[in-house]
Symmetry: C2
């Protein structure tokens, strides 16, 4: 791909330019065809740039949307903010994607406002591809863009997730499940049961039923759908536990004996082999699926490697034309006149 | 304690008497003062009893409430069922607690109907004490008795959880947190923010704010409050992951070399030391907190050891007079005339 340009909200996240700039430089190093636009305050960015990089430009912003701001307030006062200017780079076709570690609600609202949803999609969803213990993947959505979802939204997420899984993992009929508190039909919330009934009746979706929390990484489904609140808590729970487990192996090798050192080293290698691919740093970056352009949300607390992973997600989404593929898969099943209708008819 | 009698719903769970009866016999072995009433179908129970046990009696039931039944249907048709008869043993003072691995909704409904809530409590909650990585404990509720909760219910859970933590762990001012998708005041759902505002204003509660999923086992709070849907998914996610990690160490020691065997054995011991206390089998059994009597819900898929852990939970709750303590702590802060009012005034 000749033209590959990504705008980064350099002021976003818990650490701002301190993390974003080194991650950007690493990404430029890994991808010789990549150009990066850093959006932020030059005086705060410069200390982390030892010299000018030919494929890196800075676009000045004048304010920062913080996590403490209500999305509605943040959007009203977003003019000139690093997040908005980064999104505007995509709108102005200066970049094909943007990445921010900032306020999720504001990112969702501004992205919808400036970049628009795909016709037929009520609300975009944050989606990530979670590795499974069997080294497959599960597409999981929503991860926090919509705290509560009605049944129509859940169905839309199932459809988008299914298209994404078949596009990215080359699966003909991806298995789709709803996250629930039991396997039986009567379990869970009304809106989940209603979504299940719609999905069951739709032959184009390979709906496999409900999945419980303890089966999350077992690879029993290709797509897992839930509301943003549950998705966010669940993903963070997984990440927190994996971090605890991976760090435990470092503690183990701190013994004094040669055997403890050798065995500790051995188990670290084994654990990395079993679980390294589950390390949250490796799969940071959730895509706002359902937009006409690519917007990637990084964790606020991302370190350099995690933010780099979010940039990689943006590159993957660009290279795979995700928004175009979702839109074309949707339009092929939606009559033209109904493109803007609720997707329940999909 | 001289009199210690527990009624078990022997027909409940995925395996019924096959699991419940051996677990009961183990419990009788561990506690010489314990008596057990097995409620179920004698012909299905007998094959798992090699001989009569002097401290074990069978009370006959004629039907079983299954997981597929809607709670309202199950309750209407509960007469003579093993779950109802087990609860009736408590009502009739034949037992001080009952344990069932059956339909959560039906267990909650029948328990409220037959055993009553503590005055002032709108809805009982399923509570468990989750071990933390620092070998402390976090009281977590609700785990599935109430899929969705309003702010008043969350506040009631916070109060009950706080009383439980101070009773069981001897903490003067237990830290109480709400599970949420961010730390900032504006994050999450309206009902969570409303509950936070009530808890903040209440000097009797040591409210420490929001906790995110990745901090679940870190010991940052003594009490963690969430609605039943989120609590259930989160707890199961934790359990699923811990099982995966613990079983991975068994895989590791399957190498052919002597070193692999030795190192594998070493890491298994180390892992058991670090994480053994987090093994779901060891802490199965959630208490229906807020009832006037003790009802323990075991996992449906519990094995013998897990069901035994649920029986141990019942013994602990009896020995600590949990319902009486919750009631007396509540009544001391509630004017008599308001005992039946919403606890928001607590």
């Amino acid at each position: 791909m000749d033209n590959l340009t990504i705008a980064l909200d350099a002021m976003s996240g818990d650490f701002g330019p301190r993390i974003v700039v080194p991650a950007a430089l690493k990404a430029l190093d890994h991808h010789q065809n990549l150009k990066i636009i850093l959006v932020g305050n030059t005086s705060e960015i410069s200390p982390f740039l030892s010299e000018n990089h030919p494929r890196l430009t800075i676009v000045e912003s004048t304010s920062v949307i913080t996590n403490e701001m209500k999305p509605s307030f943040a959007i009203r006062h977003s003019q000139g903010s690093s997040m908005r200017v980064a999104i505007e780079q995509v709108k102005l076709k200066q970049a094909q994607a943007c990445v921010s570690a900032g306020n999720t609600g504001a990112l969702m609202g501004l992205s919808k406002l400036l970049l628009y949803s795909i016709p037929g999609i009520e609300r975009p969803a944050l989606v990530a591809t979670l590795p499974t213990i069997k080294k497959g993947n599960t597409v999981i959505l929503d991860l926090g863009a919509n705290a509560e979802c009605n049944s129509e939204m859940l169905v839309q997420f199932a459809i988008m997730g299914s298209i994404l899984a078949s596009t990215m993992s080359d699966i003909t009929k991806p298995r789709v499940a709803l996250l629930n508190i039991g396997k039986e039909d009567i379990k869970g919330l009304d809106r989940i049961r209603a979504a299940a009934n719609i999905l069951k009746a739709d032959e184009r979706i390979n709906f496999v039923g409900y999945l419980e929390g303890d089966e999350l990484l077992t690879g029993k489904t290709d797509v897992l759908v839930c509301d943003g609140f549950v998705g966010n808590v669940t993903l963070k729970t997984v990440e927190g536990l994996i971090k605890i487990f991976l760090s435990s192996t470092q503690l183990m090798s701190k013994g004094n004996s040669i055997f403890a050192k050798l065995a500790g080293h051995w188990v670290q290698k084994k654990m990395a082999n079993y679980f390294g691919h589950l390390n949250p740093s490796h799969y940071n970056g959730a895509c706002l699926l359902g937009l006409q352009s690519i917007v990637i949300k990084s964790h606020g607390g991302a370190n350099q490697n995690s933010f780099l992973a979010a940039i990689e997600q943006a590159i993957l989404a660009i290279e795979n034309n995700i928004p175009e593929r979702i839109a074309s898969s949707l339009s092929s099943v939606l009559p033209k006149s109904e493109n803007n209708q609720c997707l329940q008819k999909f």
